[in-house]
């Protein structure tokens, strides 16, 4: 019988927000009598064990000074080991039953971390490798929901040899992979869009172009999958006064003291009952087709006449806890369900079945193969 762990941080732009989400989860678990191991993933990519009672400010200057270095061993029966030092005991494997992932953006939310934990044999909450990768790839996600008949704004890959965009401007240009608040540009036409491809290095790994629709508002719904698929209330996040353009910026979403949980919002959103029903039905279908596991947050763009699914976040800020108000799901229950799902709903099943030696027996020498 091992312990629970919460993992937060990571080499991503949302590193700091992830610390807030992780510490909130750790406190909640501690207050319900199950204090978890807290694993902090530094900006440099190393893992350290930290005290869950720390405040956010302890992470301002780097890993807290009391942190114990860990090593992640990605082999069967591997997992997190505390490094031994010559003075103290040899390295010790942490006995962990399940890891709650609070890692936003970057390798923590695009399948990389998920894959490493799969190889190490550690159960974790949230998306599988495939679900995470799909959620982080705006182009792929857009294509998947479109092919499933779910309404979304047209979205094409922006490449430097793109001759024409199949819809009219002005346009929004976004990085293909990555979060929804950094590196976004509003441009008048394709020429400017292509110029941004070279000027904006956030677009270097791929970019998508969509119509810019300032007449549409953002709406968000969270969906969780255990014990059964459940949808949260609908929220309409509001922008902070500074007027940073019409798009929710990083500051709007996160700089409020408690991460997403303190961003200004209209919750529940004031929408008509039929519109609410539509949004919830779409959320259900998106969760199905995108393979959602854990808690995900689906972002829409809508006005009175139109409704589109925009993006999905497979590990949302504060794990979306502030959205489950009707019916009320306390944070403790949300976490406890995530934990049960982590252990009871496996994320991978590897097998070497089929490699039965036939090919090796029938092979002549390697040299002959190379000749």
């Amino acid at each position: 019988m091992g312990e629970l762990a919460v993992l937060f941080g990571g080499p991503s732009p949302e590193h700091d927000v992830s610390i807030l989400t992780g510490l909130q989860a750790a406190r909640e678990l501690a207050s319900s009598g199950k204090p978890p191991l807290c694993i902090y993933w530094t900006k440099m990519g190393s893992f350290v064990l930290v005290d869950g009672a720390l405040e956010a400010s302890a992470f301002l200057e780097g890993p807290p000074s009391s942190a114990t270095p860990l090593v992640l061993s990605v082999e069967e029966g591997g997992g997190f080991q505390s490094e031994g030092s010559s003075r103290r005991k040899a390295s010790q494997r942490l006995a962990i039953d399940a890891v709650i992932l609070a890692t936003h953006g970057g390798p923590g939310e695009d399948g990389t971390l998920q894959a490493a934990l799969d190889l190490a044999g550690l159960p974790y909450s949230g998306p599988t490798v495939a679900g995470a990768a799909l959620g982080m790839d705006k182009l792929a996600f857009g294509a998947v929901i479109m092919s499933a008949g779910i309404p979304s704004l047209p979205r094409v890959a922006l490449m430097k040899d793109l001759v024409a965009v199949p819809f009219e401007g002005p346009y929004i240009v976004k990085p293909r992979f990555g979060g929804s608040s950094i590196g976004i540009d509003v441009v008048a036409d394709l020429e400017v869009a292509k110029a941004r491809l070279t000027a904006n290095t956030h677009l270097a790994n791929g970019a998508v172009i969509e119509p810019y629709r300032p007449d549409l508002s953002d709406y968000q719904v969270a969906v969780r999958t255990y014990p059964s698929r459940q949808l949260s209330a609908i929220e309409r996040p509001l922008r902070s006064g500074a007027g940073s353009g019409e798009i929710l910026g990083y500051a709007d979403k996160y700089v409020g003291g408690e991460g997403m949980a303190s961003a200004p919002r209209e919750l529940p959103a004031l929408v008509s009952e039929s519109r609410a029903k539509e949004m919830l039905a779409l959320a259900d279908r998106v969760a199905e087709v995108a393979g959602v596991r854990g808690v995900a947050r689906i972002d829409y763009l809508a006005n009175d006449d139109e409704l589109y699914v925009n993006e999905i976040n497979t590990i949302p800020g504060s794990l979306g806890r502030y959205l489950f108000i009707d019916p009320m799901v306390p944070f403790g229950e949300l976490l406890s369900d995530l934990i049960t799902e982590a252990t009871s709903s496996p994320t991978h099943r590897y097998s070497a079945a089929g490699a039965d030696g036939l090919v090796l027996r029938g092979a002549a020498s390697i040299a002959a193969k190379l000749a």
């Binding site: 200057e61 590196g183 000027a199 353009g245």
Partner: protein, 510 residues
Amino acid sequence: MNLVDVAISILCLGAGSFAWLRWLRVAQREHYLPGAATQFALRWWNDRPANQMLGILAVCTAIASFWLPVVGILAAAIVAIGPLGLGVRGRTSPLNWTRRLRTLAILSGVASVVLVIIALLLGIGPLGAAIVVLLIPIIVDAADAILRPLEKRASEHFIESATDRILRIQPDIVGITGSYGKTSTKEHLTALLSGDRAVVPSPRSFNNRAGLARAINEHLSEGTEIFIAEMGTYGKGEIQELVSWCPPEIAVITAIGPVHLERFGSLDVTLSAKAEILAPASVAVLNVDDERLAELAGRLDATSTRIVRVGSHSREADVVVAVQGSEWNIEIAGETIGIIQAPRGLQPTNVACALGVALALGVDRRVLSQRVATLPSVEHRLTSTVAPSGVLVLDDTFNSNPAGAAAALEALEHAPITGRRVVVTPGMIELGHLQRSENQKLGSRAAAVADVLIIVGRTNARSLGLGAHEHSSCEIRRVRTREEAVAWVRTSLGDGDGVLYENDLPDHYS
């Protein structure tokens, strides 16, 4: 050596341990600069008649202990409680037991004890103990001087690690120095670049050798394209050392002013110390509103370094952020690229420096003009909030300098306040020979704007008061600590009033 002598010596050392902790704290707070503890000790023992008398009494009783051993305890007790006003624990900076402090504490503590033992063996135990306790600031400084080369060697490891990291990740490095405006310029630049590049700025107050190495080792992740390094200095040679292992491609000098003037000695020395940042740079961004920097730019034109002149007043600068009423007119190479609402609390020259760098890095100017309009404010740099009581609070408590203080007073003047305007300030420090005149000017300007000027502490009380008396309409109050000022504000001000907190001195300044 008899038991009475030993007992007296032990009591002296016991009392002396309070002095030991006190001067260790001062040494740490002054960044272990050579002679800091001794300098501060001399200053504090002289700062008021009560302390001067106590000091003289301590010396006399110490000498008298040669004939009457037991009065040595009195000498030790005096340095344990005194100087009056400088506590052992401290308000703004309690002791932070870092490894360096522990080593210094052990060495100075052991040295003191050894000296007392020697005195006991020589038969003058109590006299020796009393003198040792009186000389603790000097012992702390001496121990620090002994340890300094060892500390340097220990930090080498982190410097090497940082250098390797830079070589591997190869970011474009922007180095920012100047008497003031470094942090603000760094934050503005980060905001201007983040939409286009992966930018990592050095974290707050990590601007010296150890801090910069730590910033690189713990924050410069793979994939970082631009690293913005704030480089602070107290004297010549420091920046030269920093750029030897963290060489900036683009160097920025934001201002040359009378900050830390006691340590530099003169503004010319300040200029040459800051100019050390230019050596490895291919582009230099200089605030030519400052006449010394304008002259430097002229001299550098002949070299291969590309000079980008920025400013708010000089019209021939490459980047001009001109203030016109409540608007800023942004010009690049003579062409206006934007007119925006003046962002509250931001200094146009700092923004101009940031723009200069962003342009040198190839960011499109139209994009820049949009981003300047939405630059966020810098914490504790003239941020404004409204207290629950309705009082408008302007917080400008982070390291004051004359230009910043003037801007803060202007902000107070133009703020939407219907009631009384109050200024709370201890004045500015480390202005060397200009300290009296600059504080007098500050007092005068503050009294011109405010209805009440609250002077905190003693350090600049006289100069501030002198300046403030030029405007008889302003009520002058004196308090000993900022807490007292805050308490007065809480009880006396209400809805419609406004208060400016200008600068905050570390508490080992009285």
